[in-house]
Amino acid sequence: MSLDQLAPASTAGVEGRSPSAMAWERIKHDRTAWISGGVIFFFLIIGIIAPLFQRILHTSPNSFHPEALDEAMGAMPIGHFGGISSTHWFGVEPRTGRDILLRFVFGARTSLSIALTATLVATVIGVVVGLLSGFFGGKIDQVLSRMMEIVLAFPSILFALAITPVLENVLESSGLPKGNATRIPVMIMVISTFGWPYIARIVRGQVISMREREFVDAARALGATRLHLVFKQILPNLWAPILVTVALNIPSFITQEAALTFLGAGVIEPTSDWGSMLLASVPFYSVDPMYTFIPGFALFLLVLAFNLLGDSVRDALDPKSSR
């Protein structure tokens, strides 16, 4: 039996696959991943096409609709389930008559864009800090690690509530316009400030285990600069843990964003946002439960979907760490 005869058979039987291809293969067969991915996609799409709803419903998220309210009955929506009707598919807000569907889809826009931007910022900071800290070690690592620990030790929501007005004042006095134009960047700053150490720590650990590996030594021997080693040799091998952390960070950032708004340090009315919808609905929960249910359920569904998808991605990339 010659080698020539064996070769074709072996390539047909054991196909050479990259780790990413293997992960993709596993994801493809994971129903949870598909469903949760679908839910996320759905919310992203409605956020993107929000203005289309405005056209279909012939109103804007901030317009009042006195005609949909019962003036004598405490200005509650006319009709059942919070005023659900052919003109207002999800009903209207008590007292103002603003269309809940429109506030919901525009709220998806605000909530998701803040959470996703914060994730991006936190990831970039976290990855850079983690790489530097892990690769250089020594004093740099000590300083950066202590920083991470300090940030992690803060009660983040409380601190965010305290720092938001201060930051806002600083930004406003430096010329930014009042209102959401300042508030939203502040929220992104605050959320990402408390989010980056999680990523940085994971990246740092991975880098430490990788920096003495042969391919790094080889590159070093060839005279590569340190920056080249960090960003060109090590970073490309880290995308799996980064992806997993990001996937699990997004839902926590979404809840943080909603929590901040709910507690009054978030998006300013009349801009709609799921957190502010929840906040506004709380006093009415016993008389108009639909109003609380809609943003509450959406938030629950989206966070659950992100979490499940995050789990699936982790399982796919690292099957050994199964639940």
């Binding site: 006195p66 003036e71 009955m73 007292r95």
Partner: protein, 575 residues
């Protein structure tokens, strides 16, 4: 007369006298001079009355209290020269520490009150005329005793510029004089004040024993002269009142004493408390609240009125909610008229809770002040049915305007439904072509900020505000809200419109001369109408309706006409 800044800072917390207001008490028949107060039908003695509040009382020191609900409540242990009594839905002024409603021989500049001589404090010591005078004198130390009304300073003569007994221990307020026997007291005023016996219902006309005056600390335990005394008071947590055995009902026409004990608890949350009271849960059946009305749970009550009938109280309060239009910044009257026309009263009232939460108004004077109220029309429109006509009218005025100003700043307070109301106003203004910048201001210091006129401070053009009058007469409203003389270069005081039109000021000068209360109401009513209709200085929106619910085992709860609040004064616990 101009109200001082202190009074104004508390606007919105105080409201007086909605019903049965009769002026010139000097001629009033002494129907209810002596005690005891008439019995409440079905009332029984005993039990514990519980009062649940969101926040602690701001002040219970009589010299410092200026909050409607607390002015009503603290009568359980504070007596004043005169007082309101509400019984069977009728409110009248009765002598309290005084034995009559005062007499004047010079048109209201000098007032003489006879005094009851058999009254005692909680420790059994006698209440004297000197104590009554001292109670007024200590209110002059308002740097230490902040809060409270300023009427004593505003009205009493003060030739020696007395600054209060803490500053001047040997000083004297020469305009308050006790008779040698101590059975009458005389007040000398710097101007005629025909309604002075109403002013003396405030705490700066209450007896305070000099030996027991603990200055700032008096706020935590004022010496009781009423039917109950303070057993314990933990600020922010709770207060317990027990019977004051030295109080004699026969000397008091204004107070009842049914429960054995009154427990006040602080720190409740609006929505949770509201729900507990509406559902009448077991622990609140003998409870009520004086600061927590039914707001978001109102639809439940309205949907089933018969179930709540015996314990639901709905009444028009004297709070006028209105938008002041700044004459300093919106100079063209046609622009101001366009603002008036643009405002959609319906969306604003809906944002506040609909017709159960308020009644539309066209004037700053409520219709209950019969001689002052004028049923005129603003912008000639029917607010309910013709929003298009309203928009067209507003645009018409904008076309006529010479000094066009389309960018407006709308100031509002971040409290309750006020942001939603401001948003409703914003939408209505933008519908006719204005661009509205929202100026959201914190609750604390709101009234000070919107009154600022200093150059360099951003001036709002439209100001969402409210006013609860201190006595039910045009003079309690129009002078404070529209008189240009209240303003200084840096502070509009409560004249938030910065009204100082010469033609209107000429009318004010004439109105000053009128001493007849009915004629004064009418003259000031004309000013109100002209300021709104011709000069578009304000846009009235609605008079608020208060809705309260009590536990099912309480009886005798009343709507107090004197303070426009729900009152526990005559409450009893059902057996």
């Amino acid at each position: 007369m101009s109200l001082s800044k202190k009074a104004i800072a508390l606007v919105g917390t105080l409201a007086l006298g909605a019903t049965a207001f009769v002026m010139v008490p000097s001629s009033q028949a002494a129907t209810a001079v002596n005690g005891p107060a008439p019995a409440i039908a079905g009332a029984v003695k005993g039990g514990t009355l519980t009062i649940l509040e969101q926040g602690d009382f701001e002040h219970i020191d009589p010299a410092r209290n200026y909050v409607g609900g607390t002015l009503d409540f603290y009568r359980f242990f504070i007596r004043t020269l005169t007082q309101y009594r509400t019984y069977n839905g009728k409110t009248e002024l009765v002598p309290d520490v005084a034995a009559d409603l005062g007499t004047t021989k010079d048109g209201g500049s000098t007032w003489v009150f006879k005094l009851r001589t058999n009254l005692k404090y909680e420790d059994g010591s006698k209440i004297t005329c000197a104590d009554l005078k001292y109670g007024t004198m200590r209110s002059y130390n308002d740097a230490i005793l902040d809060g409270g009304t300023t009427y004593a300073h505003d009205f009493l003569k003060n030739p020696t510029n007395f600054k209060g007994p803490y500053t001047e221990p040997n000083g004297d307020l020469k305009s308050v004089v006790c008779s040698p026997k101590g059975d009458s007291i005389t007040y000398m005023l710097s101007q005629p004040v025909p309604y002075f016996p109403y002013v003396t219902t405030f705490g700066s006309f209450s007896p305070v024993p000099k030996a027991k005056d603990t200055k700032q600390n008096y706020d935590s335990h004022p010496v009781s002269s009423g039917p109950y005394k303070i057993e314990s008071y933990n600020r922010g947590k709770n207060m317990t009142l027990v019977r004051n055995t030295n109080w004699d009902p026969a000397t008091d026409p204004a107070r009842w004493n049914y429960p054995d004990k009154i427990v006040v608890k602080f720190g409740y949350e609006q929505n949770a408390l509201e729900q507990q009271l509406v559902s009448d849960s077991a622990d609140v059946q003998t409870a009520m609240s004086t600061d927590t009305g039914v707001i978001t749970n109102l639809p439940k009550v309205l949907a089933n009125p018969s179930a709540y009938k015996s314990r639901f109280f709905s009444f028009v309060s004297p709070y006028a909610r209105y938008l002041a239009i700044n004459l300093d910044t919106v100079k063209d009257v046609n622009v101001r008229k366009a603002i008036q026309c643009a405002i959609d009263l319906r969306t604003i009232l809906l944002a506040a809770g609909g017709t159960a939460a308020g009644t539309y108004s066209n004037s700053l004077i409520p219709s209950s002040i019969k001689n002052g109220y004028r049923n005129f029309d603003i912008c000639g429109r029917d607010v309910h049915t013709k929003p298009e006509a309203q928009i067209a009218a507003a645009r018409g005025y904008l076309k006529q305007a010479k000094d066009v100003k389309k960018d407006l700043i709308l100031a509002y307070r971040d409290k309750g439904v006020e942001p939603q109301r401001a948003e409703a106003a914003q939408q209505a203004l933008e519908a006719v072509g204005f661009t509205v910048t929202m100026m959201k201001l914190p609750r604390a210091g709101y009234y000070t900020r919107i009154g600022q006129r200093d150059a360099g401070v951003v001036q709002p053009d439209v100001i969402q505000t409210s006013w609860g009058y201190d006595w039910a007469a045009s003079s309690g409203i129009v002078y404070a809200l529209l008189d240009g003389r209240t303003m200084t270069a840096s502070d509009s005081h409560s004249n938030y419109s910065r009204q100082n039109v010469p033609a209107l000021q000429a009318l004010f000068a004439k109105a000053d001369m009128i001493t007849n209360p009915a004629a004064s109401d009418a003259a000031l009513g004309d000013i109100d109408q002209q300021a709104i209709q011709d000069y578009a200085a304000v846009m009235p929106v609605y008079f608020e309706t208060s809705n309260f619910i009590t536990g099912s085992k309480l009886g005798g709860v009343q709507v107090d006409g004197g303070y426009g609040t729900i009152s526990p004064l005559a409450a009893f616990v059902k057996k």
